[in-house]
C-alpha cells in the first residue's frame, strides 16, 4: 500500500483512493489518479494471476456449477422440442441477456480509447476479456434461431394476403433471417476476439518468456512475431481503431436484428422505431455495469487494489449515469408516443408490456434500472468511494434481466393465435407467462457461464492491460501550477 495522503481529509475516502500516488500537496480528488510506476507491473500481474483469492475460486466453481444447471435445464427444455416455440421464450430471454451485456463490453475499451480517457486503462482488458463470451453467444444463439418462428405466414394460410407477420426482412431471399443473423453473430465473435488478440498481443509477448506450461505455448503462438517495433505498434493501434469502429457498427446492426426479430416482430402490431436504439443504449449500460462490477471484484477481492484505482469508478460512473438517464429517456419517449396516441393497438401493447400483463415486472425493472441506481450514481460520495458504480451496476444488471423477460419472453409468449384480428391489434391481450423450473435453470446457467468464461479468461490472459498502463504512466506527470500540485495528462494526437 502506498502512502495515504488525501488533502481533502480521509473521511471521504476508503483509504485507497490514491494508491500508488505519493504526492503530498496536490489538490487531488479521485479524478487525480496517478498510475503506479510500471517497472514490475508485468511480473506483478502474472503473480496475481497465479495466486487466486478465495472469492475467485468460489466464482470459478459457482460458475461451473451454474453452467451445469443451465445445461441440465436446456437439455430438459430440449425434450419439449422446437415445434411449440412458446416454451422457448425464457431461453431466448436468457440468451439475449448474455448477448446484450457481454457483446457491448469489448466496445467500452475501444470507445474510451477513442476518446483518450486516461482512466480507462485498468478497465480496458477487463472489457476486452468479454470477447471470449462471444463464443458462448454463438452457441446460445443456435437454439434461439431454431426456436424462432417462421417469419412468414403465422396462420399457415396459402394466400399471400395473409403474410401478415411483420418482419424487417421484407422477404430478403436466401435464408433470412437465420443464416444472416448467424453470420452476423460469428462476425461479431471474430471481430471481438480480434480486438482482444490485438490488444493483448504486447502483453503476451512480454510475458511469453516467463510463462510456463500451457500459457507459454499459447502466448508464443499468439504473439510470436511481436517485438514491439514502431511499425508494429502503429499497426496495432490502427488495427484496434479500425476493428473497434467496425465492431461498433456491426454490433449496433446485430442488436437491431436481434431485438427486431426476436422481440418486436413477434408481438403483433408492435411497430416501434425506438426499440433498436433503446436496446443499444441498455446494452451499453449493461456492458459498462458488468465491467465495473468485475473491476470492483478484482480490486476488492482479487488483489488488484493498487493497480485499479478509484478513478476508473469515479469517471465511469458518470458515463453510467448518463447511460442510465438515456435509458429512461428512451423508455419515456416510447411510452409517451404510444400513450398519447391512444390508438387501440398501441394501447394494447402498452397494456401487455407495461400496465397489465407485465405490470409487476415493468415496475421492478424501472426501479432496478432507474430509481435505485440513479441516486447512487448521482451521489458524489458513493462515486468517490468506488463502490457506488458497481452497486448501481448490480441493480442495473438485475433490471436488465427483468427487461429481457418482459420483452423477449413476452414476445415468444404472444406470437401465436387463431384469430386474424389478433395479428393486427394484439387483442385479446395475452396473459404474462412464468418460467418453469427448467427456465430458471437456464437463466441461472446463463449467468453462470458468463462468470465461468470470464474467470477462465482471467486465468488465461493478463487481466490488466499492462501496455496501456505503462503508456498511461508515460503520459502523466505531477507538476506545480501556481501554488498547487496537479496531475498533468498528455494527449497525443
Amino acid at each position: 500500500m502506498a502512502s495515504e495522503t488525501q488533502p481533502h481529509g480521509g473521511a471521504a475516502h476508503d483509504g485507497s483512493a490514491h494508491d500508488g500516488g505519493a504526492h503530498e500537496h496536490g489538490h487531488f480528488g479521485p479524478e487525480m489518479w496517478v498510475i503506479p510506476e510500471s517497472a514490475g507491473l508485468t511480473s506483478d500481474i502474472a503473480e496475481k494471476q497465479r495466486s487466486s483469492s478465495t472469492l475467485f475460486t468460489v466464482v470459478l466453481y459457482a460458475g461451473a456449477l451454474l453452467t451445469v444447471l443451465g445445461v441440465i435445464g436446456f437439455v430438459l427444455r430440449l425434450l419439449d422440442g422446437f415445434s411449440d416455440h412458446r416454451v422457448w421464450g425464457f431461453y431466448v430471454a436468457a440468451f439475449a441477456f448474455v448477448f446484450t451485456l457481454t457483446s457491448s463490453a469489448p466496445l467500452a475499451a475501444c470507445a474510451f480509447r477513442f476518446t483518450k480517457s486516461h482512466w480507462r486503462r485498468p478497465l480496458s482488458r477487463i472489457s476486452e476479456l468479454f470477447a471470449l463470451v462471444s463464443v458462448v453467444n454463438i452457441l446460445l444463439f443456435i437454439p434461439a434461431l431454431i426456436a424462432l418462428p417462421d417469419i412468414l405466414n403465422p396462420l399457415g394460410a396459402s394466400n399471400e394476403a395473409l403474410d401478415i407477420r411483420r418482419t424487417i426482412w421484407f422477404r430478403v431471399p436466401g435464408g433470412s433471417p437465420e443464416w444472416w443473423q448467424f453470420a452476423g453473430m460469428v462476425g461479431l465473435a471474430v471481430n471481438s476476439l480480434g480486438i482482444l488478440w490485438l490488444a493483448a498481443m504486447p502483453d503476451m509477448a512480454q510475458s511469453r518468456s516467463q510463462m510456463t506450461g500451457f500459457r507459454a505455448s499459447l502466448y508464443r503462438t499468439l504473439s510470436g512475431r511481436w517485438y514491439g517495433t514502431k511499425r508494429q505498434w502503429q499497426i496495432q493501434k490502427a488495427g484496434l481503431a479500425i476493428l473497434g469502429a467496425f465492431y461498433f457498427m456491426l454490433l449496433v446492426f446485430m442488436q437491431f436484428l436481434v431485438v427486431s426479430d426476436f422481440a418486436m416482430s413477434l408481438i403483433p402490431g408492435w411497430k416501434d422505431s425506438i426499440l433498436p436504439p433503446f436496446y443499444t443504449v441498455i446494452s451499453f449500460q449493461g456492458g459498462l455495469a458488468i465491467i465495473l462490477l468485475m473491476a470492483y471484484a478484482m480490486r476488492r477481492w482479487g488483489g488488484y487494489r493498487e493497480i485499479i484505482g478509484v478513478a476508473p469508478f469515479w469517471a465511469a460512473s458518470k458515463v453510467l449515469l448518463g447511460l442510465t438517464l438515456l435509458h429512461t429517456y428512451h423508455l419515456f419517449a416510447f411510452f409517451i408516443t404510444y400513450w398519447y396516441g391512444r390508438l387501440e393497438v398501441e394501447q394494447n401493447i402498452l397494456n401487455y408490456l407495461m400496465f397489465d400483463s407485465y405490470l409487476g415486472i415493468f415496475w421492478a425493472q424501472l426501479f432496478f434500472t432507474f430509481f435505485i441506481p440513479f441516486p447512487i450514481l448521482v451521489s458524489n460520495h458513493a462515486r468517490r468511494l468506488g463502490w457506488g458504480a458497481p452497486l448501481a451496476g448490480i441493480f442495473i444488471i438485475i433490471g436488465l434481466m427483468l427487461f429481457h423477460i418482459r420483452i423477449f419472453a413476452a414476445a415468444f409468449a404472444s406470437s401465436d393465435s387463431e384469430s386474424l384480428y389478433y395479428f393486427f391489434m394484439l387483442k385479446p391481450i395475452p396473459a404474462a407467462t412464468f418460467p418453469d423450473l427448467w427456465d430458471i435453470f437456464i437463466i441461472l446457467g446463463a449467468v453462470g457461464i458468463v462468470m465461468l468464461v470470464f474467470r477462465l479468461g482471467m486465468m488465461l490472459l493478463p487481466p490488466i492491460s499492462v501496455w496501456e498502463m505503462k503508456e498511461g504512466a508515460m503520459y502523466q506527470r505531477v507538476d506545480t501550477l501556481i501554488r498547487g500540485r496537479y496531475l498533468v495528462l498528455g494527449k497525443p494526437e
Binding site: 398519447y340 390508438l343 387501440e344 384480428y421 393486427f424 391489434m425 387483442k427
Partner: protein, 251 residues
C-alpha cells in the same frame, strides 16, 4: 348520425344545404385553384373498376364527432372540446390558429379560413343569423348544426312552457341541414340518449361487436378508420352492390 352508403347517390344536396345553413364562404374558382375550397360535408367520389366497366362510389365525409377525438387534446386553448351532449364543438373566439387540430384529424374535416369570408353584397341578407360568420385565421368544422338543436330546444320549451329535460325533445326537431336536404334519406340523425331512435340499433350493434368481433355484426354498420380508436359518432352502412362489377378492382 348514420350514413347509409347504399342510399347515397352523390347528389351533393347535403353539401349545398350545409353551405347555405352554416354561412360557409362561396367556393370560388380562385379558392379551388389555391386548394383552399372547403365544405363541412364533402362527397368523396372514388372510381371502381376500369373504363368502361366502371362505377362511382360516393361517401359523404363530415366531422365524425369522435368520442375520443384526436383534435381535442392538442388544442392549446380548448377551442375544441366535448360538450355534455357529446358534440365535438369548436369555439371560434378561442381559436388562435395553430392548426394542430387539422393535422391531427384523420378525417380531414377541419378547415382553416385563409381569407376573410366575402359574399356578394346582395347575398349578405341570406346569411343565417343563427350562425357566426367566421373571421379569417380560425379553424372551423361541422357542428351537427348545433344552432338547430338549440332552436329545437327553445321551441319545445316554449311550447311546453317549462325547462327541457333530456327526454322531451322529439326526433325531427333538430335535424341538421344535410339530413333534412338528403333526397334519399341516406343520412339519419338522432339522439343516442333516446331509447327508440332509428339510429340506435346501428350504434348498439357496432358498439357490441368492436374490433375483433367485427364480422359478427348484424347490421352493415362500421366506423370510418375504426383502427384509429377515435370512436366516431357517425356510423357508415356498407354499400351492398346489387350488380357488382365483373372485374373486382380495389375500391
Amino acid at each position: 348520425m348514420v350514413v347509409d352508403l347504399d342510399k347515397c347517390t352523390g347528389c351533393q344536396a347535403c353539401v349545398v344545404a350545409c353551405q347555405a345553413e352554416n354561412n360557409i364562404p362561396i367556393n370560388t374558382k380562385d379558392y379551388f385553384l389555391q386548394r383552399r375550397a372547403y365544405e363541412w360535408i364533402r362527397i368523396e367520389r372514388y372510381w371502381e373498376g376500369e373504363y368502361p366497366n366502371v362505377k362511382a362510389r360516393f361517401m359523404p365525409v363530415l366531422c365524425q364527432h369522435c368520442e375520443n377525438a384526436p383534435c381535442e387534446p392538442v388544442c392549446p386553448v380548448y377551442a375544441t372540446y366535448h360538450n355534455e351532449e357529446g358534440l365535438n364543438v369548436q369555439v371560434y373566439n378561442r381559436c388562435v390558429g395553430t392548426r394542430y387540430c387539422i393535422n391531427n384529424c384523420p378525417y380531414q374535416v377541419r378547415m382553416f379560413n385563409y381569407w376573410h369570408p366575402n359574399w356578394p353584397h346582395r347575398m349578405e341578407n341570406q346569411l343565417n343569423p343563427d350562425v357566426t360568420v367566421r373571421s379569417r385565421g380560425i379553424t372551423e368544422k361541422c357542428t351537427f348544426c348545433v344552432q338547430r338543436i338549440r332552436r329545437g330546444e327553445i321551441q319545445v320549451e316554449a311550447r311546453a312552457g317549462q325547462r327541457l329535460d333530456d327526454n322531451r325533445i322529439a326526433a325531427g326537431n333538430y335535424d341538421p341541414a344535410c339530413v333534412q336536404a338528403c333526397p334519399t334519406s341516406a343520412l339519419m340523425f338522432g339522439d343516442l340518449n333516446e331509447p327508440n331512435t332509428a339510429i340506435k340499433p346501428y350504434f348498439d350493434d357496432v358498439n357490441n361487436y368492436p374490433g375483433h368481433h367485427e364480422h359478427e355484426r348484424e347490421t352493415r354498420g362500421y366506423r370510418l378508420l375504426e383502427e384509429m380508436n377515435t370512436r366516431p359518432s357517425v356510423i357508415y352502412l356498407k354499400k351492398v352492390d346489387q350488380y357488382p362489377l365483373a372485374d373486382k378492382g380495389a375500391h
